[in-house]
Amino acid sequence: MILFDRVTKLYANQERPALDEVSLEIEKGEFVFLVGPSGSGKSTFLRLVLREERPTKGQVWVTGKELNQLSNWKIPALRRQIGTVFQDFRLLPNKTVAENVAFALEVIGKPASHIRKVVPEVLEVVGLEGKEERRPDELSGGEQQRVAIARAFVNRPILLIADEPTGNLDPGTSVGIMKLLDRINQLGTTVVMSTHDQAIVDQMRRRVIELEGGHVVRDQPRGVYGYAR
């Protein structure tokens, strides 16, 4: 699903690379936590997967394609296979819940009949039935994140990227979001989630990749957030 082969990313005007010769592989169907302090390279990793950045050196393979050789006009096709969720939800404030989810399908040219069918379905999956006509500012943080997840999942991506999805939520709400992501993972979508939330990582017992200073310092199949070092 994702393969990094000695990937180095050096941003302009910076001396230390954000990622330094990182090699790792994530299999289809996995649920992976990406942990590490701020500035350790988590976000760069996710941006490389989304092809928002190109690596300075090395190769990034996503869904069987080497992203360096992917021409610009094929990037949208890549991103249609990847759902993305962020800490700050990124919903459109002037659209309702249903419209926000439908937007993701409209802009990739899906027919209206298809949209009418799948939007209620995905809203049910994320547990927002009955709130279709609400606007984001009428929802709690957890509910807003569910809308964002519905939007990311409505096109049934094979990979879901979550950048600190519980970073703005209280622990109780976070558990609900994690259950939802777990369910999406069980439906066959590979999930890569960066997080600082120790309790969640410890509880879920999934694969943990820890980055520090642009290096992979730990890669455990059923890890916890960190050793007491």
Partner: protein, 302 residues
Amino acid sequence: MRVNFVASEVSSGIRRNLTMTMAVIITVAVSLGLFGASMLVRAQVSTMKDFWYDKVEVSIFLCGKGSDTPSCAGGPVTKAQRDQIKADLESLKPLVVSVYYESQAEAFARFQEQFKNSPIVDNVKPTALPESFRVKLSDPTKYDVVASAFAGRPGIEQVNDQRKILDKFFRLLGGLQLIALLIALSMLVVTVLLIVNTMRVAAFSRRRETSIMRLVGASNFYIQLPFLLEAAVAAGIGAILAVVGLVFVKIIVIDQVLAPSFQFTAFVGWDAVLAIAPLMILVGVGLAAIAAFFTLRKYLRV
């Protein structure tokens, strides 16, 4: 392609950005209006050229009593000289289409007619006006052939080409047209800059939407299309306003004011307006689309 979706994006974009859109419409209208006006002046010049070059003649004035040019040293033109000149002119066919002899009496009659409201008529005697040959050429630009053959010949006071007088006038009109065109071009540059800025503001005010569109894999075309259409619609409205202005100029200024006052010349017809209008619309919409396209490449990259 979701036509409804794109259409609603465009209309909401225009409403959100109404003041800037208005500014684009007005600048496009003014600059294209100037552009169209300069084109119209050009069409007018060529209409007048067609009209006048058809009528211009080369005048060969013959020596009279008071003539003091060297070629008239032998006194007034003799009958032999006059007949010889006429025969030589006839031999220049087909360049010379027709030759008309105007006697002093005829010249005087024409003079009286031209200046009938002026006291100058009373002071001019028929003998003060020269007799002349009025020569019509098949190609008015070949005036030199006639001039070199006849200028300075005994009995000929002067060879005059009316085209020279007209050319001065046309050069003046051409200069005016060039100035109008230069102003129009600089206005078009201003228009492009304004559209670039408008698109930048629009891209900024919709950055949330576009960032989501990028993330969910909308194609570049789909992301940029609403912006392109917005610019094209604004420019199209401006261009239509400019065309309406041009039609207005044709009806009011040319047909109702100029044409009745200056009946001696021809004015541009509707065919010129019909030829210029599509050009204006094309230039306007094309400029807007090009400006928007390059702005979007800069501000809406994948």
